[in-house]
Amino acid sequence: MTDNNTLSAVEGIKVRSRLLRGTLVESLADPITGALAEDDQMLIKFHGSYQQDDRDIREERRQQKLEPAYSFMIRTRLPGGVCSPAQWLALDGLADQYANGSLRLTTRQAFQLHGVIKRELKPTIAAMNAVLIDTIAACGDVNRNVMSAANPHISGAHAEALEWARRLSEHLLPKTHAYHEIWLDGVRVDEVRVDEGAGELGESATGESEPIYGPTYLPRKFKAAIAVPPLNDVDIFSQDLGFIAIIEDGKLIGFNLCVGGGMGSTHGDTTTFPRLADVIGFVTPDQLLAAAEAVVTAQRDFGNRIVRKHARLKYTIETHGIDWFKAEVEQRLSFRFAAARAFHFEHSGDRFGWVRGESGNWHLTVRIEAGRVADRNGRNWRQALAAIARIHDGEFRITPNQNLIIANVADAQRAGIDALLQTHGVDAGTAQSPLRLNALACVSYPTCPLAMAEAERYLPDFGAKLELLLVQHGLRDVPIGLRITGCPNGCARPFLAEIALVGKAPGRYNLYLGGDRRGQRLNALYRENIVEADILATLDPLLADFARGRSGDEGFADFLIRSEAIPAPPSVQFAASTRQSAERAL
């Protein structure tokens, strides 16, 4: 354990970094290595990038007396996951020019490029900024990409939610000039944004300060999202800070505020755990930014900066209690939270195929397995989507389930888009089983430094085997949520899934069961450290029981709990005012 009074090493790096500069410029220029200096490896996360290496060849290169094949993942900041066709094409071009030839759609509605080598990092980030996509705070101990309900068919409220996601993202952006200095040679894409931040304090000679974060930013990463019921695609209860849109008579009247969700945990350490967010009240739209800032600053001041794995907001709340935290936040505000309003979530998945929106335009949701946009095995997603981007007047929306919506398509354009998909050997995926359509996987091997087992590369294989089992039990068309991650850090939000595999070691996983399809209940460890054959053998009798004993359209994990095959894991605890309506809704 860390010394009780010593700040974690990362805090020291932040303090010394001069608002996230560190020695990044020197590190980038160092020709001896494809890596950054150690402290800079931490700092670059705040700039939207992780240093990684190709783990498939790490040992081989060690023997070759070569350093690991270092490269960088670059993650965009893209509130609500919305981009224009021109931006899509620019990123698509960068995938070939500097990255590994693919685009990755993430569970936080961002793009990731993988395999960018150090000397091409700057041109890549500069090229992204040239099409007005930045990467600031996409990773690091700050507020990350702000998510927003992707489903466009309730588009009036959705559009408002998206607008608030953008404002929230802007409001919580770091104000340091470091990003522009390092990546854009001092050119600011959006000068106003930076000047506003400086103006608020107006004290430093350079006009540069961090009024919200302070010089050491947050104790740990911070995730925010806006959900628009009845869809919980953003998994609102997994977020540090969530806003649940409350719509009355088709009008957005405000948001229920929830705090303290989070997925990450450490294998075998019971002081770490996934946690569902608590709903603590209701705010009107004009109170949203102030409320968010108060939550952020409370976490800034009270979050654990000594033990990094206890540093997220969920542990702050566990340590001090939710009532204390609510009071602490309110004390920072000029208003008190109103009682939370009733809401109801139906599910957390996507709706595939063409959907007509309020405006009469069409939206096509396509299944992108594990979010990997690539040309592989005759399924040429990259070519297809680039071709669509060239004729598309609407926008693209990345869903929190790693899928893509080709949004705002005029009636006349539909056939052309369908034809382009067909030409490139792909389709929306509507014919696939619900299991395959809804499954999530994080990136994991070969690039993720945290990976303990395969995830993205394993999903097609395991998905097919599990699907076969479902077919055998006559369950092929039953929606069952499967999520696979390479480690317990939780990028694909595994601890909310009905069935989750969480990597332990190559070929070995912990099997979790018990989540629901609304994202309101955690799952629990069912079997530890088992291989594929054991996973399938474990699931087989449970699925057989389910097939025999299922009631109506009961979910798999709901059945397991009802039949007492597993104990009920924790689920969302609603405050008194919302309980009745929430229970009714459930």
């Binding site: 020709p31 001896i32 290595t33 494809g34 060849i57 081989e60 290169r61 060690r62 023997q63 070759q64 007396k65 070569l66 350093e67 094949a69 080598i117 000397r119």
Partner: protein, 602 residues
């Protein structure tokens, strides 16, 4: 046998005659073994004195009847000269052996009889040790030499257009200076023996008649200063176990470079940083098979050449060069096949055409193109002997004990419908660790030594596998706790896949065993960047290091790199001194004379 008869030049050196009594007393009652040891010991002392006092030696008039001078890059000319020297001594000729970097053309004015054995590098360049001698000889400073008679043996590679160019230049220039050509110049191709033997026979006959001292024929082989404690040598190589054969370029590299570790355990072999390892390769089973089918012969056929009888397959595998095409082989093939095309190529006026043909064709290509009724014995005698290859040693014994490490670029290319492999690199890269053995010996390279002073700074320029000796240098200097600084210039095509020994250099930088590392990866960006470009970029610092006494070492490709680096160094010096081109060249020439600008290029 009497002690006085050991050294044939005793008669000519009065001061040694005066020592005869002392020597008699010293040697009284000693057995042959002890006497030989004393001979070697004394020779070693003499050599040490000579090395330590070059100026004094140069000022002395030549006392020997015959001076054998050599300029050698890879050791072939040196070996030929040593052999001539041995034979001359045995023939009773008071001969002395000198390397051209310890000799100036002015000294020729005091000579009466001289043999020169000189190699030609790449595109008609002298070996590094002969560079200064050739420059001065060709200049106005060269003395008139009416008293001198001389003979030249040139060594070269007929696949280069300027074959034996340096031998020719020296030969013609000496005549211009008034010297007498004693007998005709010899020009030896890679198959050295076929020219060396007749030339030395003739040379010795003529010289014995004119120079031999009566009754002074030595009855023992003198033990030379150059011989070290190693009992293993070129013709008696040590079978070293392969400890590691590790590719050190990444999987996406088109170049396959190997780090080879060999065990010298129990061989008693020692070496110094800068030395080369001679490797006796064998031809691969595939290439032997290809030659057998092209010549329509069976591997079992017994062939006797000289004292040896072996199956043809074994001759081809272990004893004969079946890769690189030589003029003598082409000559024999032309005779056997009666090919007009080949005979035309071999005509005297076709030198350029021939050299281009030799460099673009392998033996297999011509065997296939000109089938003829070979018999096994004719094939074996037509082919030249398989020669060892030299690799700069990449390790210091102070770090690796009884191991020796090499950095080997495997060479393979497509031509005339088949894939060709470099014989030795193919042999080494297909050896299995902890199973196979490789026949090796040390080829000392006294011209590429670390400075005696551990405080002296080193500038090391070694792109590609040229980095090998610098791994040895840095290991050695770390082991002895040298306080001088180290600056390495390395280059290759790609950073990610061809940064040879990347992790070791990073460690060396961290530990302060390497102070600076400049890299040039030519194909990682639109414009090509080479080590010479980095040298120019670092002009100020480089010149400061030079002014501070740094030694400059260059290792690697002789064809382009060495010249490019040389020009870059001149540019750097010119830029920093501002004294013009000639001043810069003179500055660099001074470094060369002072043995501070050293090259191991091939």
């Amino acid at each position: 046998m009497k002690a006085t008869s050991i050294h044939p030049i005793a008669e000519a050196l009065p001061e040694i005659v005066a020592l005869r009594d002392k020597l008699s007393w010293l040697s009284d009652g000693l057995d042959v073994r002890s006497l030989l040891w004393i001979s070697g010991y004394a020779a070693g002392l003499a050599a040490a004195q000579q090395q330590g006092n070059v100026a004094a030696v140069a000022a002395e008039p030549a006392a020997a009847a015959l001076s054998i001078l050599y300029g050698s890059q890879t050791g072939n000319a040196k070996r030929a000269a040593e052999k001539l020297h041995d034979q001359a001594l045995q023939a009773g000729i008071a001969a002395r052996l000198l390397r051209l970097d310890d000799y100036t053309p002015k000294q020729l004015a005091a000579e009466r009889s001289v043999w020169l054995v000189v190699s030609t590098q790449g595109d008609g360049d002298p070996s590094d040790d002969a560079r200064r001698f050739v420059d001065v000889l060709r200049s106005k400073r060269a003395p008139r030499l009416p008293q001198l008679r001389y003979a030249v043996l040139g060594l070269g590679d007929a696949s280069y257009p300027k074959f034996c160019e340096i031998g020719r230049i020296i030969d013609e220039r000496l005549t211009e200076l008034g010297a007498t050509r004693w007998f005709a110049r010899g020009e030896a191709d890679v198959d050295i023996v076929s020219v060396l033997e007749p030339w030395s026979r003739q040379a010795l006959e003529i010289a014995r008649d004119e120079l031999a001292t009566p009754n002074a024929v030595a009855s023992v082989t003198p033990i030379r200063a150059r011989s070290n404690a190693n009992s293993w040598h070129r013709d008696q190589p040590f079978a070293a176990e392969v400890l590691a054969n590790q590719r050190i370029t990444a999987r996406d590299s088109a170049k396959d470079v190997r780090h080879i570790e060999l065990s010298l355990a129990e061989s008693g072999i020692s070496y110094e940083p800068g030395d080369a390892l001679g490797v006796w390769p064998e031809n691969s089973a595939q290439s032997v098979q290809a030659v057998l089918s092209a010549s329509r012969l069976q591997p079992e056929a017994a062939v006797t050449v000289g004292e040896h009888t072996r199956p043809l397959g074994e001759w081809l595998q272990r004893e004969r060069e079946i890769g690189k095409l030589s003029r003598p082989f082409l000559q024999k093939l032309a005779e056997r096949s009666g090919s007009a095309e080949l005979q035309h190529l071999l005509a005297a006026e076709q030198r350029a055409g021939l050299s281009s043909f030799l460099s673009t064709h392998r033996i297999l290509d011509v065997l296939r193109a000109h089938p003829t009724g070979w018999d096994a014995t004719s094939l074996v005698t037509a082919l030249g002997p398989l020669a060892p290859r030299l690799y700069s040693i990449a390790s210091s014994r102070k770090q690796v004990d009884d191991e020796v490490h090499l950095t080997v670029a495997t060479i393979a290319w497509e031509a005339h419908g088949s894939t060709h492999h470099g014989v030795a690199s193919d042999w080494l890269s297909t050896r299995t660790a902890e199973q196979d053995k490789v026949r090796v010996y040390i080829e000392p390279n006294t011209r590429f030594r670390l400075p005696a002073n551990p405080e002296t700074d080193l500038i090391m320029i070694g792109p590609g596998t040229g980095v090998a000796p610098f791994r040895a240098f840095v290991q050695e200097r770390a082991a002895i706790g040298a306080t001088g600084r180290h600056w390495l210039f390395f280059g290759n095509q790609h950073f990610s896949s061809q940064f040879l020994y990347q992790v070791e250099w990073q460690e060396a930088l961290k530990r302060g065993q390497l102070q600076r590392l400049d890299l040039a990866f030519s194909r990682d960006q639109a414009e090509k960047i080479y080590v010479q470009d980095r040298l120019r970029q670092q002009a100020r610092a480089l010149y400061a290091w030079l002014q501070n006494g740094a030694h400059v070492y260059v290792c690697g490709d002789a064809t382009n790199m060495a010249g490019d680096v040389h020009r870059a160094l001149v540019d750097v010096i010119e830029h920093e001194r501002g004294g013009g081109r000639e001043d810069a060249e003179a500055y660099l020439a001074e470094l060369d004379s002072a043995h501070r600008y050293l090259r191991d290029v091939y």
